[in-house]
Symmetry: C2
């Protein structure tokens, strides 16, 4: 569901297999030398199995017709996937939940003044693209979980519609109170736009795709090129997922038949105002009819008009009504029981539902998951026996709000809390560089895997290729040197926007999200043009990166499932948390300096003296200077984590020297039990301020970013929002969590030490 | 003629006169206290004279018809200006030169493939704008001094067409050899574009105005707004003024009747390939027909197309033929003889010719010069007697290549070398912030003046307003602190693009260029829409900034003319030259580091490993690592200048304490004679490498920028072009020049000391 911002979020990992960085006799994190040799043999067999032709066939089948939640083909796909899993000898079943899923009944956008214009709100058939003509089965363009409404009001252009944009509007004397805002897609999760608009008093919201962001400005438009055509629009959910994702009626519990459900009017995650997405073809007449100040330079898109802010004279009528139905969703679940530790689960998932045909999102990666499962089935037949239980999941209802994964994980929360080692997610795939985000305790694991997978275009490891990409992209010599010298590539933290959310944020299961990208762009996201024709013309058309992703994820799953000692590492985690703590201090320092400077300029009269009297503008408000904060508890906790991480790492070295295969196995199991708990230790039952569903104290999607992560979120968002007492108590709170993590690591090191006696 | 890049070049100066920073009894640089009191009385009288209504009337008259070189109204305007000067009691005359001035005979741009399209090459009448319909008298859109030619070739888009753009094209595998290039206006002086295109083997050049740069992207287009309409095109000269400006046939000498003239084929400043400017209306079909790689993001403009580079399939036929005529130009010269030192001349100029009606360029500032002259005439009638001779000049033929100023100054080179104290230039004017550029020996003078002129919108001094603007604009806390603490505002150095060029660069006369700007934009530059209607709707429509400019320039001229001791200062000059020397060292250091890093990345295979195999790209070439250079002579010379500047400044303080009016007047005259020489001392008779006409060793327009200045140009351009032996010898050469300047300052200080005995 999430739009991959390629290259920005990417963090990147790679080895030539010919001249491989890690050869067949190299150690693997968590494995004895003997076990590593055997593991490498199985991995070599595994890597040989995935076939691009199969990926192509799966995509052709799964994207042949629209398959959104509740559609016949969605169910059909689930059953086909189930049958495939069974064909490959795997133990698979469906799990069904019943969720609120509004679909459009009425949609109208018309301009009444200064001239009349009625928006098409329709994506036309593209000749040559066979599935683009399946209009009877396509969901119309709309934003799911928009409130019903019928409003007529003057229009205001609000850029991306994020909080900073409204600060700027205020300085320019533009109010959105009682207005309909038109925001462009991008910069935030779309659900943030109506949320912030409503907070500022707007009565309706249009979201359009500016050609600057994914249309002709970027490249030739479909079908000549990969980018969004004039009438293409982006569907998408606008529920307030920063509060909680999943079925709006059943927060925190699985949406089973007999689950207790909220009344619609009690639901907090619906929008407060009606919203509709439109194409740039529909947006241009509306934007061209605005007058008022010219939009700030960075707000201007690529339409051939002067971008004005309004408000008005354009007056718009917006009507949105939905069928507020309960629909079934079907998750497909596979269970490969562990031979030695069946109660330690490795969970792997990708969604199968789409907004329309969804060849890229999600089928490009769903096909990969299928091919992994086929390969694991083949290994099992050859005698491979994973130590731990592996659970493969094909989620339904991801697009609407991570429904399938959230409801399943909420329904199985107790078991998952006891058993889940890690969750590995994918969502879409393309050509280019491996991107891996997630829990930093898994950073070393994924770095190791990436060194053993070969890039299909360059015949070097995917780790190496991504490292070189980061060297090329580094914006300072210091960052470049770090990339060159650091043994592991840094992975970014996870925000939200895909099915890992419930695992990492709600349950505290260490998670990873993986994909390849960066070489091909496109503007078919959540449109009818995200289909087999588009993907096989403009993306990984040979499916060789699909194979590489299957190899990468498969190896990650196998190492987690086969390792004697769970492949968690805490030195990279400690290094990263230290970085976050520094960021927090710098953020606070910068806020102080900025406010001091701005107040000084207010004293000097800078704003009034430099303002153009022909243009309305107001000086920014004077703000209280932030107090100094006590960061000492955080510094102490970070230090404790670092010390214990070092201790664990040294003990592990000793264990390697001692001989991993000679370790006392009961003690090893006590270590594994602690490691399995290590991400859970980073959560608190009360969750984050204002959003108790989000339990993780190190990572969370931002309340006002939606996708993008806020690390140390309680403290960071308090500082951003200038809530100083809360900031200080949140610093103390996360410090305590980290102290707890340090203790856990300490215990794990001690237990590991005992295993050598 | 020059396009004012508002806000970037601005450097900025201001005092409330109500609560003025400098009151009536404040000292003035170069004046005894007694003389300062008298001066302030005259200045107060002067400031009261200029009237906005007069400025409006002058503009209406001068811009009533097209008045390019050789047109009837150009001559008519010269005679009208002459008559006005005489009316105001001033001694005025015409000086006529005969210059090469090609005008268009044939102009054709047509696309032959993949579809046929013939460019309009015409700017239509705008209803409501009366002068826009004077098509019979308007010069067609063209680039003067383009070679005649008739070429048919595939098209390539080259962005701004500066050298870096061709480096990028090369890495993308695009050659312009045998092609016609299409470049957009901006980033460099337009004459650079065909020059660099020809150096890379192109056979023709189109230059268009992208709406991103001065069309609808920036604001509403004319006549609704100030910006360039679809069919508006920018005329302009493309002679290679970085070699020498002025009449191409008479380099270095005045183009008098009997001057020795080059043959046309000997002229080096004509373009090497044919060039035409076009509108974005004409450019869009050509650009839309290009295929090949998508242009890099920063190259893309605001047309609603995907910008491709080509080459082809668009195939273009370009034909340009000119009437290569000799035309007369008429400078109007006023002489106000000095009462005490008639052989010390203060020269003040603005051009009167335009490309078409030229209300903004040049009439907005030509009117200001007229009003200054009227005011000086009035003061003379009231009994004011300037100590020095003042020469007011209304130049002809500026647009074509600074013809009027260059030929006059070349014709009077000997006298000017002996007598000229300073040259003060203006060229156009608008609303906003005072911009002042020029010789740093005059920085203190212009800062002082700016503190005594009131901003018409804000009732604070123009100095204060610009200082606050710079605080708002500063991009680092360090720069902001410098703006707050430095007594004088830093002024940027002069490049080229207006009539100061011959004075500062060729003759070494200390120069200043002044204007107000930054509040209004516009896209009518060098089009038929730069007219009275446009100016009085979208710029300084009340002419209050015109009055402020008359006050600023008038006071500058008066202080230069009336001071007992010429108001030169060397501490700001020393401070600035030190900055330039540091820049040079940093430039060299950065080149070293960049080449080392790039070579390292070549070793690591970064470029090959990260390249997308579906796109053509080549790694950059490996370059030799620059040697370390001997900057010691420059450092020593800068130190010497700083020490002597300090010595002169302290001696001046002593002289103030002693009583300026008690100084020995013969000694003062010896000091003044040295000060008058001080800018000449910064020149060398042999000029700069490859362009002997440019004598100044501290300032010059860049060989590949055209407008933008290169300071310490010999050394800087050698470093930029990686000519290491030349860099080292140029460092030594400019060091020697600065040592000479230090000696002159030392002598001036000694002479001033003697005046106290």
């Amino acid at each position: 569901m999430r739009r991959y911002v390629i290259g920005v979020l990417s963090i990147l990992l790679a080895i030539p297999i010919g001249a491989a960085e890690t050869g067949p006799s190299q150690p693997i994190l968590g494995f004895s030398d003997a076990a590593a040799r055997i593991e490498r043999e199985w991995e070599t067999k595994f890597q040989a199995i995935p076939k691009p032709d199969n990926l192509r066939e799966y995509m052709k089948r799964l994207s042949a017709r629209p398959h959104h939640v509740g559609s016949p083909y969605d169910k059909d796909n689930a059953e086909w996937i189930l049958a495939k899993f069974k064909d490959w000898g795997l133990d698979a079943h469906l799990e069904t939940f019943d969720v609120l899923f509004p679909t459009p009944k009425e949609r109208l956008v018309e301009m009444l003044e200064p001239t009349r214009f009625v928006a098409k709100l329709a994506e036309p058939t593209v000749p040559g693209d066979p599935t683009s003509s399946q209009h009877d089965e396509q969901l119309p363009t709309y934003n799911a979980y928009s409130l019903d409404g019928d409003v007529t009001a003057p229009l205001v252009y609000v850029n991306y519609g994020i909080p900073e944009d409204y600060e700027q509007l205020e300085r320019l004397g533009i109010s959105v109170k009682g207005a309909i805002v038109i925001a462009r897609y991008g910069s935030s999760w779309r659900g943030i736009k109506p949320k912030v608009a409503a907070e500022h008093g707007a009565v309706g919201c249009l979201i359009y795709s500016d050609p600057r962001d994914d249309g002709y400005f970027e490249g030739d438009v479909f079908p000549e090129g990969a980018w969004r055509p004039r009438d293409g629009a982006q569907r998408g959910s606008v529920m307030d997922m920063a509060l909680y994702p999943g079925d709006p009626l059943t927060p925190g519990v699985g949406a089973t038949k007999d689950a207790k459900r909220l009344e619609l009017k009690e639901v907090k995650t619906l929008t407060k105002i009606p919203v509709l997405p439109i194409s740039y073809g529909d947006a241009q007449p509306l934007l061209a009819a605005l007058q008022g100040p010219v939009a700030p330079e960075k707000w201007r898109g690529a339409l051939p008009i002067t971008y004005h802010l309004g408000r008005g004279p354009a007056k718009v009528h917006l009507r949105v009504k939905a069928n507020w139905d309960i629909k079934p969703i079907n998750d497909v679940i596979v269970r490969i029981p562990g031979a030695l530790y069946p109660d330690e689960w490795i969970v792997r998932g990708n969604h199968h539902d789409a907004w329309v045909n969804g060849a890229e999102d999600p089928v490009s990666a769903m096909a990969v998951e299928l091919e992994e499962a086929r390969a694991l089935g083949a290994l099992l037949q050859q005698g491979w026996r994973p130590k731990r239980t592996i659970i493969y999941c094909a989620w339904d209802g991801e697009e609407e709000g991570l429904l399938g994964s959230t409801e399943w994980a909420e329904a199985h929360a107790g078991e998952l809390a006891r058993h889940a080692v890690a969750y590995i997610n994918t969502d879409a795939n393309g050509r280019g560089f491996l991107s891996s985000s997630g829990s930093h305790t898994l950073e070393k694991l994924v770095n190791g895997v990436a060194k053993d997978v070969v890039d299909p275009e360059k015949n070097i490891s995917v780790w190496k290729r991504s490292q070189l990409h980061s060297i090329a992209d580094a914006d300072s010599p210091e960052k470049r040197e770090e990339v060159r010298k650091r043994a592991d590539w840094r992975i970014p933290a996870l925000g939200s926007g895909s099915d890992y959310t419930v695992f990492i944020d709600h349950l505290g299961v260490a998670s990873l999200n993986l994909y390849f990208g960066g070489e091909d762009g496109g503007g078919i996201y959540h449109s009818i043009y995200d289909d087999f024709y588009w993907y096989t013309h403009f993306s990984d058309r040979d499916f060789v990166y699909g194979r590489a992703l299957a190899q990468t994820v498969g190896l990650t799953v196998m190492r987690l499932a086969d390792a004697e000692l769970l492949p968690f590492d805490f030195t990279d985690f400690a290094d990263t948390v230290r970085k976050y703590a520094e960021e927090l201090k710098n953020l606070h320092k910068k806020e102080r300096e900025d406010i001091l400077e701005r107040n000084r300029q207010l004293d000097e009269d800078v704003f009034t003296a430099t303002a153009d009297p022909r243009k309305i503008s107001f000086p920014p408000p004077r703000e209280a200077v932030p107090p100094f904060l006590d960061f000492a508890p955080l510094d102490n906790a970070v230090e404790a984590v670092a010390l214990k991480a070092e201790k664990y790492s040294k003990t592990l070295d000793k264990a390697r020297d001692y001989g991993m295969d000679k370790l006392d196995s009961a003690a090893v199991q006590r270590v594994n039990a602690l490691l399995l708990e290590s991400e859970r230790k980073l959560t608190l039952p009360e969750g984050l301020p204002l959003r108790p569903w989000f339990k993780h104290q190190i990572y969370a999607p931002g309340l006002y970013t939606g996708y993008a992560v806020k690390t140390l979120p309680g403290a960071r968002e308090a500082i951003e929002q200038k809530k100083w007492p809360e900031a200080e108590s949140e610093i103390a709170r996360v410090a305590k969590v980290l102290e707890g993590e340090a203790q856990l690591i300490d215990s794990a090191a001690d237990e590991l030490g005992k295993a050598m006696r």
